[in-house]
């Protein structure tokens, strides 16, 4: 079998061009391997070989991101590689970001198997570990040998299109994709060990880091409802008929603000849902089922509430990232505060 063709990306420092004073070095393509590439070539042996090395200064890359990325990508593509490796960047921040950026672009734009490596606290790690395989390294080039030892088997697996196992087995940073594997000890024994460590204040590694669940403590009850202004907000996707702002049916990238002045009842002719995550028939028949304007108008008339706020805010909760949802709410919450709204009824589906 022919050796796999590898293109390697390194910065000006590892290319022995210079340190900070040469950090604005423009992208350059050289044949064969340079610097850390030698260690890779040795480790790959007969399986693979670095055919070309792309060098770019860290400052140049980060300050001319789009242009540098395009140039570097073009250089990589010209070599028609089977595999792309960037770094290791260790704890060099700009180098790490460059390695992550290029590896992610090679993956998404060229579709070539690829990986990089850096120290866990390198800013490039958090930015890219969920996009590309990043092998964790020590914080300096002292960890080169160890990095190569871990990167080579993973690189070969990637190049051969083999299934990649759990992060702790294949030595990449956890990337949010949970993979099963068999441990050496059974779970109960691992639990006893972990508890003993935890009780003794010794270090231990949880097998499942708790995700951040954002919990909101409810505000105190509104005492004087008869004079309160109440707003309606929904993640159920209720929009004026025709969905004028084109809120997506899933993974919504926006929210809408719509006027309820004079609207006493939502009808099949006037409102609908944009939501793609539930059977829309009943919401489209009568959108009050999700956004209860009719009932709010009744309560207004009966004097139970002061008034219904003039505008309602709406988005689609279906598959929408928590981060986005949070941003929408923090924006329109300001509007609600400005309008002296006392309480919000938030409906979901």
């Amino acid at each position: 079998m022919a050796k796999l063709r590898i293109v390697h990306y390194i910065n000006q420092f590892f290319a022995q061009i210079g340190g900070e004073e040469m950090a604005d070095y423009k992208p350059e393509l050289r044949e064969g391997c340079i610097g850390p590439g030698l260690a890779f070539n040795q480790a790959f042996g007969e399986d693979a070989e670095i055919v070309a090395t792309v060098i770019c200064g860290d400052s140049y890359f980060n300050e001319n991101l789009d242009e540098a990325k395009a140039t570097v990508l073009e250089m990589i593509k010209s070599q028609n590689p089977d595999l792309f490796i960037a770094g290791p960047a260790f704890n060099a921040g700009r180098y790490g970001v460059a390695c992550g950026t290029i590896t992610a672009a090679v993956k998404s734009e060229l579709g070539i198997p690829c990986l990089t490596a850096m120290y866990e606290e390198n800013p490039g790690a958090d930015m890219f570990k969920n996009q590309v395989y990043i092998v964790p390294t020590k914080n300096s080039a002292v960890g080169m040998r160890d990095a190569v030892k871990k990167m080579v088997p993973l690189a070969l697996k990637l190049a051969h299109g083999e299934e990649i196992g759990a992060s702790c087995v294949e030595h990449y940073m956890p990337n949010g994709i949970r993979k099963n594997f068999f441990e050496k000890k059974r779970g109960s024994a691992r639990a006893v060990d972990m508890l003993l460590a935890k009780m003794a204040g010794k270090p231990f590694t949880t097998e499942f880091p708790m995700p951040d669940f954002d919990r909101v403590t409810p505000n105190p009850a509104v005492k004087d409802m008869a004079h309160a202004t109440i707003a309606l907000v929904t993640s159920g996707g209720i929009v004026p008929k025709g969905n004028p702002d084109h809120i997506e049916s899933s993974s919504a990238s926006k929210y809408g603000e719509y006027d309820l002045e004079g609207v006493m009842d939502l009808t099949a002719d006037t409102y609908e849902t944009a939501h793609g995550g539930y059977d829309p028939v009943y919401a489209n028949q009568d959108a009050d089922r999700v956004l209860p304007v009719d009932v709010m108008r009744d309560l207004e008339r009966e004097g139970v509430i002061g008034k219904l706020h003039r505008y309602f805010y709406t988005t689609v909760g279906n598959g929408t990232a928590v981060k986005n949802a949070k941003r929408y709410a923090s924006e329109f919450a300001q509007e609600l505060l400005k309008a002296n709204v006392n309480a919000v009824i938030l409906t979901s589906t």
Partner: protein
Amino acid sequence: MKLEVGYIDIRDICFADSSRLEDGVLYLDKNALSEIVLEDKNISKVEFEIAKPGDSIRITPVKDVIEPRVKVEGPGGIFPGVISKVTTVGSGKTHVLRGSAIVTTGKIVGFQEGIIDMSGPGADYTPFSKTLNLVVNMTPVEGLAQHEHEHANRMAGLRIAAYVGELGKNAVPDETRVYETPSIKEGLEKYPDLPRVAYIEMLQSQGLMHDTYVYGVDAKRTLSTIITPTELMDGAIISGNCVSACDKNTTYHHLNNPVVHDLLEKHGKELNFVGIIITNENVYLADKERSSDWTAKLAEFLSLDGAIISQEGFGNPDTDLIMNCKKVEAKGIPTCIITDEYAGRDGSSQSLADADASATAVVTGGNANELITLPKLDKVIGDLSVVDRIAGGFNGNMAEDGSITVELQAITGATNEMGFNKLSAR
């Protein structure tokens, strides 16, 4: 409480004219077994099969797995409050027919019953591919309600296990072990410098066939309480549930609770195993609050330095798990929780239905959504036609070549949350 457990290693099982245990070989009389099952008028038909490790056999839909045991000396009998009188067990002497198991199967009850493959890739995920299994294949009478059907299967399995266990009463054990847990005062005096650790065992009690019984009491009607490790070894807790097969604690798991055994292993050396707090997993919020409050209260009352919390099932019970963890941690008692994950088939989704920052030490039994293809095996015991309906199966999962594709969820014991297995995820 002190219990001497004599392990009799079972080397083989076969059918014979009379039931007996000789030199580690179980000889079983089908007629006698049939009579025991058919004394329940709700079961119209029963067949018995033997499934051994390595056999090309698939058993499905599996309801429960039970290890045959017998009380040899001391008060009470096996499965107290259910098969034997309700006398407190856990002391004296008990014989275990180690390496054998009773597996109940037959017409599907609900959807949450499992698969045991005795060979092939599926065998790696279930502990019951490594046991010599007597499979009880039952057909209920027509028109039997689901909960009555479950009850009939459950009781028949326990009766058969008790009958088979009885055969080992006079056998000479291959290994004898003594399990002893001291009283609170004795423990304090004996191990003044060792951390006091308890096991908080959550019992499935969501109801509608998701039940566990403690001395015959339905766990959803119980308050969190204390039980000793050796009581579990005598069958004080039995499974009566139809939770997804992968994280269902079968009666076999309760009898051989791995957390209990691994804590006993370090008892008196690295820790002082104070006892077990059992607590339920009811669906109502008030029940969840009460049970977890009581769990934390008992943990504090026992002056614990640490606790291991195990779960059964997923989704709704995740909230009980997190409440227990959070409230025990809030008492200043470190915990380690054991759970499993539903991270989607590609592993990218949120694994648990609840979370809390205080759950810093988590052991996982793996992602139950991960898919596995199980090749055709020569023989099926039970009913293969339902594998697209059991939890973890899906429409169109049976290929023309006889292979089936399921989530690990469908394999009995695959992602056990007592930490019975080595499977994990990262």
